[in-house]
């Protein structure tokens, strides 16, 4: 059983999706909700067990169908992959829980689609094969297309149409890049690619470079890096807030793919092609932080503001990918977990606030007072402090660690001012948003609407997400040790190549 453990975070959501479509769950809403919550908790527990198992022993390499490594497809459950799988499963479980308070009734097939999305994201994190990465990208995309349309109105049709067309073009570019890489290197296994890239000579080097750089386009599109980030604010702001919270993990799939490809395949050992993507990633990442900061300041409604916060966090993460050393990558992982959870929490809080403010919803204008100012205000303050990076919450720890890890490199000259000024912009924009959401009332509407109290299940889900932030500070010691070990394992390329190519039996 234990050797199949690595495949379970993919198989359980897949089974869950199918089971939830079948008669007893498909017909009865109550049964569907209960089974969906149970199945998502099972996924969460299996992911946590996988993380502890991999943490205490060596990475698991699982050859699908027992076809060994360079020929068959392998799943590689190392520390990085299992950490992100656990994060995805946790977010999926919280979103399923939150949806049980009524949002899942607004459209069809919400629960199966969430499980299919978790399947795609987990698969993308676990796979050790670039073509398989493409397949899992498509799985998560088709689930996300349908979720984006969930309970949709005209605005979301328009955003979905643009999102789908952009991603279809992205998929074509991905396939062209994979075709070039396969034509030059004769393999698509990540470990095998890493082994073969340094041996290239002559014109093949340039072909491989074209293939590798085309991949930047794809990952930048998924991760919303500067010239390709324009879809994100519209898409996230027009999706249901609950769905947008789940989408918080999807930009991180792009960042993860960059980290994997440009550290393992085109990293230190890649001979002529070593660090070939870094200058591109570095420049684009800094520009993304600037644009995201401007977007945050210019946002007219709260959800668009959060979507722009996601853009800023992607810029920060990619800048750390471009720095490419062990401590920067460890800081990246800490910040990635923190920003995913807090951005998801912010989307859910935006939903609660919008429901209680009546017609003005989450627009940043004077409006009706919320019905539960203390509860929502506290949630908002915690999330805002965390996302801006003020002490004492996890954003601050992440920010200090990021600044410290970039201190040694000469890149700090550029990175520090941009990052700190954008943090100031975030602080200004988020406090202004809080002021107008909670304190800015119109006279005639100063009474709160009766009977719009938040459903307790929703509050539990939001608190579960927010509680992660102080916990990440309290347990900052063990967590940062784990992140450092993860980062060391990622940079220890030779060991992982050997593990995949020989241990796949």
């Amino acid at each position: 059983m234990i050797q199949h453990l690595a495949s379970l975070p993919i198989l359980i959501p897949m089974l869950a999706g199918v089971i939830l479509l079948m008669p007893p769950c498909g017909k009865n809403l109550h049964i569907r909700r209960v089974s969906s919550v149970i199945l998502s908790i099972v996924t969460l527990l299996v992911s946590a067990y996988l993380l502890f198992h991999v943490n205490s022993t060596a990475p698991l390499v699982y050859a699908i169908g027992d076809w060994s490594a360079p020929f068959g497809i392998v799943l590689v459950a190392d520390r990085l992959a299992t950490l992100l799988v656990l994060l995805t499963s946790f977010l999926g479980a919280v979103v399923v829980l939150y949806s049980c308070a009524g949002d899942d009734k607004k459209g069809s097939f919400f629960h199966p689609l969430v499980h299919f999305l978790v399947l795609g994201v987990n698969g993308a994190f676990l796979t050790g094969d670039v073509f398989n990465l493409f397949v899992f990208f498509e799985v998560l995309l088709i689930a996300s297309y349908s979720l984006l349309m969930h309970a949709g109105n005209k605005q979301s049709t328009r955003a979905a149409l643009q999102y789908v067309i952009l991603n279809l073009i992205g998929s074509s570019v991905f396939l062209i890049a994979l075709g070039v890489l396969y034509g030059v290197l004769g393999t698509l296994n990540i470990a095998d690619l890493a082994q073969k890239v340094p041996q290239l000579t002559g014109d093949d080097v340039y072909l491989a470079k074209i293939g590798g750089l085309l991949l930047i386009v794809v990952f930048a599109l998924k991760g919303a890096l500067l010239p390709l980030h324009l879809w994100l604010p519209n898409t996230y702001a027009s999706a249901m807030p609950l769905v947008a919270a789940l989408f918080a993990i999807m930009t991180k799939v792009g960042v993860y793919a960059m980290l994997r490809v440009y550290t393992v395949i085109f990293g230190d050992n890649a001979g002529e092609l070593a660090h070939m993507a870094q200058p591109w990633l570095w420049g684009l990442a800094l520009a993304t932080i600037v644009m995201g900061g401007i977007g945050v300041l210019a946002s007219q409604d709260f959800r668009k503001l959060i979507a722009n916060l996601v853009v800023v966090s992607v810029g920060t993460l990619v800048a750390l990918v471009a720095i490419q050393n062990i401590s920067a990558t460890a800081a990246l992982l800490y910040y990635l977990v923190h920003s995913t959870i807090i951005c998801a929490a912010l989307f859910l809080i935006a939903d609660l606030i919008a429901q209680q403010r009546g017609k003005v919803a989450d627009r940043l204008v004077a409006g009706r007072a919320v019905a539960q100012p203390y509860l929502l205000g506290t949630c908002f303050v915690v999330a805002a402090l965390a996302v801006v990076g003020m002490p004492p919450l996890s954003g601050f720890v992440g920010k200090v660690w990021i600044l410290k890890s970039t201190l040694d490199s000469e890149k700090a000259m550029l990175f520090w001012p941009i990052y700190l000024v954008s943090s100031l912009a975030l602080l200004v924009a988020v406090s202004r948003a809080g002021t107008s959401l909670f304190w800015d009332h119109t006279h005639k509407d100063s009474e709160a609407i009766e009977g719009t109290k938040a459903h307790p299940v929703k509050v539990i889900a939001v608190v579960a997400l927010l509680a992660c932030s102080p916990l990440m500070v309290v347990f900052a010691g063990p967590i940062s040790d784990y992140m450092l070990a993860t980062s060391e394992q990622l940079f220890d390329i030779n060991t992982s190549i050997n593990a995949v190519l020989q241990g796949g039996q």
Partner: protein, 114 residues
């Protein structure tokens, strides 16, 4: 053969990109389809273009590379599903937005203006 094959892929990509840059959904869908045809041909050629090589073991002395064929099959299936989805979405967009522009700005029709 290489020249013919390469120019086929090139022409398909060029047509696809031209159509994708149009502002209406139908040409964009056609463009995406053409682009995916081009990508499929390109993937197929990454296993080298050869003639008279066996696809099944034991039927000849030389074999064609089976992996690109498997990749193309996967890409065709996924591309087909995605095209079907975007067609449905385009029809829904036409109904919801009242026009078939990709950026969906509501151009008021003459009826609404009256």
């Amino acid at each position: 053969m290489e020249v013919l094959y390469a120019s086929c892929v090139g022409v398909l990509v060029a047509c696809g990109i031209y159509l994708i840059l149009r502002a209406r959904t139908f040409p964009v869908v056609l463009g995406l389809t053409m682009l995916s045809y081009a990508v499929n041909l390109f993937l197929f050629s990454s296993g080298r273009l050869t003639i008279n090589k066996a696809a099944v073991l034991g039927t000849g002395s030389e074999y064609a590379d089976p992996l690109p064929q498997a990749l193309v099959l996967t890409a065709i299936v996924i591309g087909f599903a995605m095209t079907a989805f975007v067609v449905i979405l385009a029809i829904r967009g036409r109904a919801d937005l009242g026009n078939d522009h990709v950026d969906g700005h509501l151009v008021k029709s003459s009826k609404e203006q009256k």
